[in-house]
């Protein structure tokens, strides 16, 4: 059953030092406020997971929260390179950062495998790609039916996943719409999920039946944080303000 709590409490009671954690959002709905709260609370030794780490992951790395980063595209999409990440990788500042690098296809499949309760994801990928040489978590298996060589990566099972969404209803069911990204899979792959939302409404009875909804029993805590994705955006509610980054 989802609890409605302040963001500071949701972060404090779900995240711990040494945890693996994903603040997911695929350019849209980036849970920036939750990530900033984790910086304020000063966590350490985190394994940060995210397909597209951007400026808020850069800040967490620069503030020394991360021991390891699992990612597939370390660019601030459309805006540029991540300076603090580069400093950590190139110069070991503020400390050495372990990296586990994948392709988008691999991470998307790995989250889906986590949500599906599988130990690994199997897909047609990494053919001729050199990441397979430098990342020991990329392996190849033979299809038992056709003999085709397929890529395999471990399922992602973060201790905690934070996402931002448009709405919750009073029971704690969650609506995500627009570019839905990887958030549903990430929440279902996680041991604990925390959602920040723009607003709480009475119920979702007027919504189209296929709109993406996370049932309240898949979410640990919900915090109401209007504008919680800034400087990213919330489809139909807030606009992107990337030039401020």
């Amino acid at each position: 059953m989802a609890r409605f709590v302040p963001l500071s409490q949701a972060v404090a009671e779900n995240l711990g030092n040494g945890d693996s954690v994903a603040f997911e959002g695929f350019t849209h709905l980036i849970p920036t406020a939750a990530a900033h709260e984790s910086i304020r609370q000063g966590f350490r030794d985190l394994t940060l997971i995210r397909m597209t780490p951007d400026v808020v992951y850069d800040q967490m790395i620069g503030m020394g929260l991360a021991r390891k980063l699992v990612f597939s595209y370390a660019g601030n999409p459309g805006v540029g390179l991540l300076r603090r990440l580069r400093d950590a990788v190139e110069n070991g500042f503020p400390h050495k950062l372990e990296i586990e690098e994948h392709s988008h296809a691999a991470m998307a499949n790995a989250y889906e495998a986590g949500a599906a309760g599988l130990p690994c994801a199997v897909f047609r990928g990494y053919r001729g790609a050199e990441l397979a040489r430098v990342n020991p978590n990329i392996k190849f298996i033979e299809c038992p039916f056709t003999g085709e060589s397929l890529a395999a990566v471990p399922a992602l099972r973060p201790d905690v996943v934070f996402i931002h969404a448009q709405k919750a209803d009073r029971k704690g069911n969650v609506l995500v719409e627009g570019i839905v990204g990887i958030q549903k899979e990430a929440v279902l792959a996680a041991k604990r999920a925390v959602v920040s939302v723009e607003e709480v409404v009475d119920d979702f009875s007027d919504l189209h039946p296929n709109l993406t909804i996370l049932p309240h029993w898949t979410v640990a805590d919900i915090a109401v944080v209007p504008g919680g994705a800034h400087p990213s955006y919330t489809h139909a509610i807030t606009r992107v303000t990337t030039p401020n980054i």
Partner: protein, 259 residues
């Protein structure tokens, strides 16, 4: 009176790239130069082209160019928007993409692309963003088009990291790895149009943009450039192509300035 319109090398690159796309293509669009070319194609001769961005937007028709692959504009104007795992599994891996359109930080003569590191992977001189969707776009799309502005830093004899596989060491290297898609079939730069040699798969200049010399192509390329027999001249941008591109850029600038 028709005068030959003035245009920049970058405009020529975008327009030449746009002409390569067909109305029935299903195109997986990389951000930056590919995105401009794909949208000019849609606004000119290919109104029904299906443009797909890796954020899950299928059949999108943005009025302005997106800053990133996840702009709301892409979702607002798309036929449908699907989750990211579905994008990569059903649509890309499923073989439904006819053209994967990629940019590159570093490329070699066989169309292998590096967007990961300059220098050694473990101790890089420069850490680049990485592969994102490109490693699988390069191998699961039926064909791959690449576009970048020429420079000796960008077009090198040996890339530092094989982020996305092109033709490997050339010849039948793709088939040897069990990759049954065509790989890079077209390279469009600000100076020329290149196609792979049918046997060696080395990119070869087949068309020079108007006013460009062979020396200019060689001076801005890190490998020894091969030219096809009978190199053609790329038709210059038409007035309509240029106006369409400039309008799109002006709309884009105005929209993002106000963001």
């Amino acid at each position: 009176m028709m005068s030959r319109p003035e245009f920049t090398p970058n405009e020529m690159m975008t327009i030449a790239a746009s002409r390569a796309l067909k109305n029935d293509d299903v195109c997986f669009v990389g951000i930056g130069a590919p995105s401009a070319a794909c949208n000019i194609a849609r606004l000119m001769h290919a109104p029904d082209i299906t443009l797909i961005y890796e954020s899950g937007t299928i059949g999108t028709a943005p009025d302005v160019l997106p800053l990133s692959i996840g702009d709301g504009e892409l979702c607002d104007t798309a036929l449908t928007t699907v989750p990211v795992p579905e994008m990569f599994r059903y649509w890309l891996q499923g073989g439904r993409i006819t053209i994967g359109f990629l940019g590159a930080a570093q490329i070699d003569k066989y169309g292998n692309i590096n967007t990961t590191v300059i220098g050694d992977y473990d101790c890089p001189k420069t850490r680049l963003p990485g592969g994102g969707g490109a490693p699988e776009i390069a191998t699961s799309s039926q064909e791959v088009y690449i576009t970048l502005a020429q420079s000796k830093r960008g077009m090198v004899e040996k890339i530092d990291f094989y982020t996305s596989f092109g033709h490997g060491d050339g010849g039948d290297h793709r088939q040897k790895l069990g990759i049954d898609t065509k790989g890079p079939t077209l390279l469009i730069t600000d100076l020329a149009i290149w196609k792979p040699d049918p046997v060696t798969k080395e990119f070869t200049v087949v068309s020079l943009h108007p006013g460009v010399t062979r020396d200019q192509v060689q001076e801005t390329c890190g490998w020894s450039v091969k030219f096809a027999d009978g190199v053609e001249e790329t038709p210059p941008p038409t007035d309509l192509e240029l106006a369409t591109l400039r309008d799109l850029k002006a709309r884009t600038e105005a929209a993002h300035k106000g963001a």
